[in-house]
C-alpha cells in the first residue's frame, strides 16, 4: 500500500481536518515527513488530472474540499430540497407534540420508547414545533409545542379544532402526564378479582383459586385454556 493511498483514504473518510502528525498514526511505517511527501504527491495528482476537489490547509490541518469553481453547481443542486416528506418517526413525534403539548423530550421518548433527539431536531428545523418554555422537575426540561406553521399546514384555525378521533392511542387521548397514567394503569379495576404479584403461600394460593371462581362454575371460557 503506498503512502499517498493511505493518506488519501484517511482524508477522504475523516470528518475533521487532520495534521500530518495525526495522519502518520495510521501506519507504523509512516512519519510526518512521509505524510508531507504524500500530500505533495496528491496535490500534484489532483491538479494534473483536473479533479473537482483539492487539498486545502485549514487551521487544524489538511482537508479535502471541492474546488471553489464548483460552488454554483452545489448551490443549484441544493435548491431543490430532496426531502419534502416527514419520516414515520418524525410524524409520530409530531403527533405526540400535537396532542400532548407542551411536552418534554423525555416524555416524548417515554411514549415512543426510543431516543427522539433526531426527530425533534427535524421538527424544529421544519418549524413545525418550537420550544415553548420549561417544565418542572430535574433539569427543568424544555417543553415543545406546535407552531403557527403547523396549524397553517394542516389547515386548523386553532388548537381547539384539532380532531381527536376514536382510534387515537390512549396515551394521546389522555392529558395526564405519563407518570400518573402509569399509576392509573396499575390500579385494579372495580370488580376485577384481586390480583397479586406477591408470592402466595401454597395454602393461600389454593384458597385464592378455590375462592375465585368456585370450582364448578367456570366462566364462559374467557381466558380459559387460551393462555398458551
Amino acid at each position: 500500500m503506498n503512502d499517498a493511498g493511505i493518506v488519501e483514504a484517511i482524508l477522504f473518510a475523516s470528518d475533521a481536518p487532520l495534521s500530518p502528525g495525526e495522519i502518520a498514526r495510521a501506519d507504523e511505517a509512516l512519519d510526518e515527513d512521509r505524510v508531507e511527501a504524500a500530500l505533495a504527491v496528491l496535490t500534484a495528482e489532483y491538479d494534473d488530472s483536473g479533479r473537482a476537489f483539492e487539498l486545502r490547509e485549514v487551521a487544524d490541518g489538511v482537508q479535502l474540499m471541492t474546488r471553489p469553481e464548483f460552488a454554483p453547481y452545489l448551490e443549484r443542486f441544493d435548491t431543490v430540497p430532496k426531502q419534502s416528506r416527514l419520516s414515520g418517526p418524525a410524524l409520530e413525534a409530531l403527533a405526540i407534540v400535537a396532542y400532548r403539548q407542551p411536552i418534554s423530550r423525555i416524555e416524548i421518548e417515554y411514549i415512543r420508547g426510543v431516543n427522539s433527539t433526531g426527530v425533534i431536531r427535524t421538527l424544529l428545523d421544519r418549524e413545525l414545533i418550537r420550544a415553548a418554555g420549561r417544565g418542572e422537575g430535574v433539569g427543568r426540561p424544555v417543553l415543545y409545542a406546535t407552531t403557527e406553521r403547523f396549524m397553517e399546514h394542516f389547515g386548523f384555525p386553532s388548537m381547539e379544532h384539532l380532531p381527536r378521533p376514536e382510534e387515537l392511542p390512549v396515551v394521546l387521548r389522555e392529558r395526564a402526564p405519563p407518570e400518573e397514567r402509569a399509576k392509573d394503569d396499575e390500579a385494579p379495576e372495580a370488580g376485577s378479582p384481586e390480583v397479586s404479584d406477591e408470592p402466595l403461600s401454597p395454602d393461600e394460593a389454593v384458597a385464592a383459586v378455590l375462592a375465585h371462581a368456585g370450582s364448578e362454575v367456570g366462566s364462559d371460557g374467557e381466558g380459559g385454556g387460551s393462555e398458551e
Binding site: 428545523d125 383459586v209 368456585g214 370450582s215 371460557g221 380459559g224 398458551e228
Partner: protein
C-alpha cells in the same frame, strides 16, 4: 433417563426456535421426524439451566415448551376423525424450516454488513448554504400524521425496569397447586387456577404443569372445543399419596419424581 441430557448455553440463543433448531441440528435429528419426547426433555432441561432471564424471555421459552408438550399430548391421543392425516408436528416443522431460512438470510446480511463496514463514505462534507428547511414544500397530510399517531404503541410493561425484579415462577409450585385443588373439588377450571395472578407467566407455568400432570395421568384435562373452558379433573393417580411435591426442582428433565401411579 439421562440419555438426552445436553448442556446448552441458553443465552446464546435468540429465542425458543433458535434453541430448538440448535438441538435438532447439532444432534443430526431428522427435522421431518422430530422425536418430540426427547427434544422436549432437552428443551426443558436447557431452559431450566437459564440463569436469570427476563420474565418475557422466560415466557417465550415456556410458551414453546408448552407447545411441545401439547404436541406430545396430541400424539398420544387418538386423532379425532377427519384429522387422521395431520401430524401434530407439522406446523412446528414448518416454523423451524422457515426460521432456519431466516437465520441463514440474517447470516448473509451480517456478512454484507461486514463488507459494507470496510468501505467508508465521505466523512466531511463542506458546510453549504442549505436551503432553509422550513421553506421546503412539505408533503404531509393530516391523515399521514394520524396514521403515525395510531401506530404509537404505549410503552409496554416489558420495557419497564421494575419487571426485572419479579420472581420466577416454579413449575413445582403450580403442580402442587393443581394437585391440591383437584383434591378438594370435583373439577376446576383452568382460568380459576390462574386468576389470582396477573402475569402471563403464571398462566404458562400452570398450563405446563397441567399438561405434564395430564401426561402423567395425575389429572385429566378436558376441553369441549378450541377456546372453550379447559377443565381439570382429578386423574387416577391423584389423591392417594401424601407426597405433595410431584416434581422436584432439582430434576433436570422434569421427570416425575413423586409417588403415585407412574403412567409411562
Amino acid at each position: 433417563m439421562n440419555d438426552g441430557f445436553l448442556v446448552v448455553e441458553t443465552e446464546r440463543f435468540h429465542g425458543p426456535l433458535d434453541l430448538l433448531l440448535h438441538l435438532i441440528r447439532t444432534q443430526d435429528i431428522d427435522i421431518f421426524d422430530i422425536p418430540i419426547s426427547l427434544i422436549t426433555r432437552q428443551f426443558l432441561a436447557a431452559i431450566q439451566g437459564m440463569g436469570d432471564p427476563g420474565v418475557d424471555e422466560a415466557g417465550e421459552f415456556l410458551e414453546m415448551a408448552a407447545a411441545l408438550v401439547r404436541i406430545k399430548a396430541r400424539m398420544l391421543l387418538p386423532s379425532p376423525s377427519g384429522e387422521e392425516d395431520h401430524d401434530p408436528r407439522a406446523e412446528l416443522v414448518r416454523r423451524l424450516l422457515e426460521y432456519e431460512m431466516i437465520h441463514e438470510v440474517a447470516h448473509r446480511l451480517r456478512s454484507a454488513e461486514n463488507d459494507r463496514g470496510r468501505r467508508f463514505g465521505k466523512g466531511y462534507t463542506e458546510p453549504r448554504r442549505r436551503p432553509h428547511l422550513a421553506e421546503a414544500p412539505l408533503h404531509v397530510t393530516w391523515d399521514d400524521l394520524l396514521a403515525a399517531a395510531t401506530r404509537i404503541e404505549p410503552p409496554t410493561e416489558g420495557e419497564a425496569e421494575h419487571r426485572v425484579t419479579r420472581r420466577a415462577v416454579a413449575m413445582t409450585e403450580k403442580v402442587d397447586l393443581i394437585v391440591q385443588a383437584v383434591r378438594k373439588v370435583r373439577r376446576i377450571e383452568f382460568a380459576s387456577l390462574v386468576a389470582p395472578w396477573r402475569d402471563r407467566i403464571h398462566g404458562v407455568m400452570t398450563l405446563l404443569a397441567g399438561l405434564e400432570l395430564g401426561r402423567r395421568r395425575v389429572v385429566s384435562l378436558r376441553q369441549r372445543q378450541h377456546f372453550s373452558p379447559l377443565w381439570i379433573y382429578p386423574g387416577r393417580g391423584a389423591g392417594g399419596s401424601g407426597d405433595e411435591s410431584m416434581l422436584s426442582a432439582d430434576e433436570p428433565e422434569y421427570s416425575y419424581a413423586g409417588a403415585g401411579e407412574e403412567a409411562t
